[in-house]
Assembly symmetry: C2
Homo-oligomer: 118 residues x 2
DNA sequence: CAGTATCCGAGTAGATACTG
DNA sequence: CAGTATCTACTCGGATACTG
């Protein structure tokens, strides 16, 4: 047996771990949709996102936003109006998800055609 | 990095639905990793995947494989040996996930560097 | 406006044991 | 080898009500 065959599976394990890492960050029913909404509008407030993301509850939105912030994908900015306004925005790191979001969108459309068509 | 282009909000709603569709298909702790394993080896047996995907139980693997098959991402082929051998393979439709898997892998590595480095 | 608090059912997932 | 069966704990997520 060639040594590359020993090396490749090992490399593959690392790749699979990387995929898992990403999926852990994006887990939850709403995360990608929330990111997509913030990305689309650049800046977005809590209640706006609540309207954008069809079906989400304020409890879940609050929770998902916190997790996204912990993972440094979004920032939360308090603006000193009365009452206070909160702006959510993508970080530079968060913006690097753009390609993935686009791919997921494209694939979703294709999948729908495939499943309905069959 | 790119910014989100100006679509009409109505168009954006459809895009978000498409993302949701994809995430619904890929939901579950192990699906992407399983696909990644099958993809890497082209053909893969049940117990092989069980070894590839670190931490998964046979119950979960069985369940996830069924769902992937229902969504027409993989095929299950029974080969008449003794005892029988089962081959799992990606369908053509399943193979279209390749780009997404690669992107998720790349992003996972970048994210790890980002989080550990901060 | 931007969230919290609480209750609860449904689904997810692990451990272990068993089957053809 | 390729799964099922069962039991159990944990988490997800919805509904409703409440706060500064």
């Amino acid at each position: 047996m060639m040594e590359c065959e020993e090396f490749k599976p090992d490399q593959h394990k690392k790749e699979m771990m990387a995929v898992q890492d990403t999926m852990d960050v994006l887990r939850g029913k709403w995360k990608i949709t929330i990111l997509s909404s913030i990305c689309f509008y650049n800046k977005r407030r809590f209640s706006d996102i609540l309207n954008d993301v069809h079906g989400i509850s304020n409890k879940m939105l609050s929770k998902e936003l916190k997790e996204l912030e912990i993972n440094q994908l979004i920032t939360r900015t308090v603006i000193d109006t009365h009452p206070v306004t909160i702006h959510y925005q993508l970080t530079e790191h968060g913006k690097t998800l753009r390609t993935i979001i686009d791919n997921l969108t494209e694939w979703g459309k294709r999948h729908r055609r495939k499943i309905i068509g069959s």
